[in-house]
């Protein structure tokens, strides 16, 4: 038995029955992190000592009979979640040094459930990116390789460090955040399951904000069930986040076994966009076939405003980001570069601290909110956002879930698609609409590309109906029987 290869559900059973200890499970992961992280760069900050302490406490809890399904489970925490006493960077040099004196609600809940934190996972700077190339702490390498090639591939982004860590078995699961696809696209690129729940399902308190109306935390793991176990603990109302939903959290794990018999699954005609790769389209058709075989009713639907999703996203998200990132001014925390006067200090600090992509988005956001442009850009984008939501509302009057590809391609190489930010932005084309609408969406690994890279399918559900999303995702997972492992993996492939 390779400890690092266990699922969370599997490890949880073994821990509960005392067949393995949390300390040995954590030690195996700490060793794997030490061995692979120098290459993958999946963690910005590894915390092996903290992990060992938490593992000891977990063993004690299990012995005392107070364990939960997450007690003793080693996780990677995206470095966008503030963790008390542990350096938190958002992968930006502007926050260095920053050690939060407080804990995000999501990580606090995971800790309370007994989870073990292996370290803080790399990401695109301030979660702005789809490749993990914009990290101020260097790019993350995808543990997957194209067949017959050693070219370094991106793990996707922005939760690329989380995805690479879980795929390479140097974490059993990870927290991510998803603003326009930042959980689902890296999950697809690394052969993982990952869910962005309904906006408001998880508290945003203590998560460094990118775009407040879109940001949502969620898990990445190697199975749909593991995602359900993680999301169960991450969810819930938090009075410290006014946008978190005051409603009960259903039993996600129970929903896995529901099956899809009789469920109506929508296939949006507009997602069959020009330029979709034939193998992505073929995988999609395969997914449709699997669900039909399981008894689902497949129905064509229309999401007419989907085509505006990407432009709307690239107005709304930068607008909010330009404001959210104003606080990084060198006055109270993080890095400061002294200047002649206040303005000079701001300019030097922000010029040195932010990377190119962050600066680009701050400029875009500042522009679209400026007097004279607000109506043409921001206001219009908000109106179209409402239409996109209406598209989904109309569709969900007819169907229970929607099936689409997660990303337009498999993982690409580090250095590819770098010249033109717009090409890079196209990665999010299938994922952003659910962020704009605030609805839950999950990516599950469904097959391999011709080059041997994982591809994902996306399941989108109604507001607060993650249960159906889990049910459909689990059905795809069972049918796809995705068992291929990445090239770079703890203990060797």
């Amino acid at each position: 038995m390779t400890l690092t290869d266990l699922t969370i559900a599997g490890a949880s059973t073994l821990l509960a029955s005392r067949e393995i200890s949390a300390v040995e499970l954590t030690a195996a992961h700490n060793d794997a992190v030490a061995a692979l992280n120098p290459r993958l760069n999946a963690y910005i900050t590894a915390t092996p000592e903290q992990a060992q302490e938490q593992a000891k406490a977990a063993d004690a809890a299990i012995a005392a009979g107070t364990g939960t399904p997450l007690t003793g489970i080693p996780l990677a925490i995206k470095d966008l979640f503030c963790t008390a006493g542990i350096r938190t960077t958002a992968a930006s040099k502007i926050l260095d040094p920053f050690i939060p004196p407080y804990e995000s609600t999501v990580t606090a809940q995971l800790k309370a459930a007994g989870a073990v934190f292996l370290g803080k996972a790399n990401l695109d700077e301030f979660a702005m990116g789809s490749s993990n190339i914009t990290s101020g702490y260097g790019p993350v390498e995808n543990p997957w390789k194209r067949e017959g090639s050693d070219a370094k591939l991106v793990p996707g982004g922005s939760s690329g460090g989380s995805a690479a860590a879980v795929a390479a078995r140097i974490a059993m699961g990870a927290t991510g955040t998803d603003t326009g696809g930042s959980i689902r696209q890296p999950a697809a690129f690394t052969g993982l399951a990952g869910i962005k729940p309904t906006y408001g399902r998880c508290s945003r308190y203590g998560i460094i904000a990118f775009a407040s109306s879109l940001d949502q935390a969620g898990p990445l793991a190697r199975t749909v069930e593991d995602c359900a176990i993680l999301l169960q603990v991450m969810s819930g109302f938090d009075p410290r986040d006014s946008t978190s939903a005051e409603r009960p959290v259903p039993d996600f794990r129970a929903a896995i076994a529901r099956g899809v018999k009789g469920l109506k699954i929508g296939i949006p005609a507009e997602y069959r966009m020009d330029g979709i790769s034939p193998e992505i389209d073929a995988l999609w058709q395969k997914g449709i076939g699997w669900l039909r075989e399981e008894g689902a009713i497949i129905q064509e639907i229309s999401l007419p405003h989907t085509k505006y999703g990407l432009p709307v996203y690239y107005i709304v998200a930068p607008a909010e980001a330009s404001s959210n990132l104003a606080r990084y001014d060198g006055v109270r925390f993080g890095a400061r570069v002294d200047g002649e006067d206040l303005i000079d200090m701001y300019e030097r600090t922000r010029a040195a601290g932010f990377g190119a992509e962050v600066k680009r988005r701050i400029m875009i956001g500042t522009y679209v909110l400026s007097a004279g442009y607000y109506d043409a850009y921001y206001l219009k984008a908000q109106k179209i956002r409402a239409l996109i939501l209406r598209d989904f509302t109309d569709a969900f009057a007819k169907v229970d879930a929607i099936l689409t590809p997660t990303a337009p391609s498999a993982a690409f190489g580090i250095g590819e698609k770098m010249d033109d930010p717009v090409t890079m932005y196209l990665n999010d084309v299938f994922t952003v609409p659910s962020n704009l609408a605030g609805i839950p969406a999950m990516s599950v690994p469904a097959g391999l590309s011709s080059e041997g890279l994982p591809l994902g399918l996306q399941i989108i559900g109604r507001h607060f109906d993650e249960e159906t999303v889990f049910a459909v995702s689990a059905a795809i997972e069972r049918a796809a029987d995705f068992t291929t492992k990445p090239a770079i993996i703890a203990g060797g492939a």
Binding site: I208, A209, A211, T243, L369
Partner: protein, 483 residues
């Protein structure tokens, strides 16, 4: 024709609108649990939310919302059951988030009206455009260190109500009366302490001038004026400046100005070209503010009696003049003091005593109603002694002086000093007879038509009786003996 300023080219009318920033009275700040109380060591009332730390989120303080609603109701204004917060983006060292959370597009309170009273007794209505909630910034100090500025964030995040008036104000006097009226209302409501020295109330003053009958001309905004007197001065100084600009062939340009009280003038702070582009947009960290109608109705039902209503009631209930009622209702404490004194007593007498000797004493000694040596109960007892003729009005003044000096109750002073009024007609008869006998010449003059001497006889008799005689009886007896 109202207030006009004479220029070289004739009369000019002043047009003024005020934006009053009133700090909300609340335990904690608008969006955080940190204390909102004034003072404290620098940066001792600061939460991570106030300091704009990464991942921190605002949560609306319900009490601040209630205070804004109460104020809106007090301004006879429309309460908006749906309102929304926006971000006002600008960089400054004492603005931790790089934006202020305010209500730009959808304020919690809409249009209303307040009445102001001018020196000549005229009542004028001033329109309220809106009231919105916003958070205050911190404080930058540039004089604490030779090369550095220091920041105190105690005030950062404290709730403010910005009360915006229509441009209905036409003179410095009206501007002062309006500001005083707003202060009076919020103090009655307990929603702002109105303390301009501590900065818990300050005003931005928008001023323009025009020839009578014209449309509005360009206005200038004078920022952060912190007393009623300065507002009045600033209006006048700015209007004079603008008249000079127009009359010398120039053009007033829209800009933000500062009032310098030492020099009695305004000067330019930044022009329209340098004005910030605040890039307002809806605050995504907060849901729209939706008020429950029942909750607002409950707040309304529990509102205290406001100055205008109280003034009218005082006139009707106590039979005092509108002017006196205005003086007595200037603030809640005075009004309560009056009502305690007047209860079951001669209200007009109570009014005269309070607005007369009592206020004069407060002025002279620098005491306030709360620290006054004369309590409402003591003053009430004094009025009882006058009303039941235990003492007369003149003796009452002496007793009052004794009360101010010693803090003793009036009955005790009367007893101690033997000041009880003499109503024994026998004693008065003989005193009058003695005075008339001693002034035969004056009696003759009186009888030959010099009526004014009557007062002289009264004075002499009162003096002889150490002021304790009942004045009505003295008059009566003198008349009888002279006839």
């Amino acid at each position: 024709m109202g207030y006009m300023l004479e220029g070289a080219t004739g009369a000019w009318e002043i047009v003024v609108g005020l934006e009053v920033h009133a700090q909300v009275i609340s335990e904690s700040k608008l969006f955080s649990g940190a204390s909102a109380t004034y003072g404290g060591a620098p940066n001792s009332h600061v939460s991570f939310v106030d300091a704009g730390f990464p991942g921190m989120l605002p949560v609306i303080n319900r009490e601040c919302v209630a205070q804004a609603v109460r104020t809106g109701l007090g301004l006879n204004a429309q309460i908006n059951f749906w309102s929304r917060f926006d971000r006002k983006n600008y960089f400054y060292a004492d603005l931790p988030n790089g934006y202020q959370i305010s209500q730009f597009a959808h304020p919690i309170v809409g249009t209303g009206v307040v009445e102001i009273e001018l020196q000549d007794g005229t009542i004028k209505q001033i329109g309220i455009t809106r009231l919105h909630l916003e958070q205050d910034a911190g404080k930058s100090m540039h004089d604490q260190h030779p090369a550095k500025s220091v920041i105190d964030l105690n005030r950062a995040g404290v709730g403010l109500m910005e009360i915006v008036s229509e441009p209905d104000i036409r003179s410095p006097e009206e501007a002062g009366a309006y500001l005083r009226k707003i202060r009076q209302i919020v103090r009655y409501l307990g929603t702002c302490d109105g303390n301009m020295e501590e900065g818990s109330m300050r005003a931005d003053v928008n001023v323009s001038v025009r020839k009578p009958g014209e449309d509005f001309r360009t206005r200038c905004e004078i920022k952060n004026v912190n007393s009623v007197r300065f507002v009045m001065h600033a209006v006048e100084a700015e209007a004079q400046r603008q008249i000079e600009v127009w009359e010398s062939g120039g053009t007033v340009t829209q800009e933000t100005r500062l009032y310098d009280p030492a020099r009695g003038e305004t000067r330019s702070m930044r022009s329209k070209e340098d004005a910030h582009d605040y890039r307002y947009f809806p605050e995504p960290d907060l849901l729209p503010l939706v008020l429950d109608e029942q909750w607002v109705a409950e707040l309304k039902a529990k509102l205290p009696e406001l100055p205008d209503e109280k003034r009218k009631r005082f006139c009707a209930q106590y039979g005092i003049t509108f002017y006196d009622a205005g003086v007595l209702t200037a603030d809640q404490l005075t009004a309560d003091f009056f009502e305690t004194v007047a209860k079951n007593r001669d209200a007009r007498l109570a009014c005269n005593w309070i607005t007369g000797d009592f206020f004069a004493t407060l002025n002279r000694t620098g005491a306030s109603i709360e620290t006054s040596p004369v309590s409402a109960a003591a003053l009430g007892e004094l009025i009882d002694l006058i009303s039941d003729q235990t003492i007369n009005g003149r003796i009452a003044k002496d007793v009052f002086e004794g009360m101010v000096e010693t803090g003793k109750m009036p009955a005790a002073i009367v007893e101690e000093k033997g000041l009880k009024q003499v109503t024994d007609t026998g004693a008065i008869d003989s005193a009058v007879a003695a005075i008339l006998a001693a002034n035969q010449d004056k009696v003759a003059e009186y009888k030959s038509g010099k009526d004014k001497l009557f007062g002289f006889f009264v004075g002499q008799v009162m003096k002889a009786m150490q002021g304790k005689a009942n004045p009505a009886l003295v008059n009566e007896v003198i008349k009888k003996q002279l006839s």
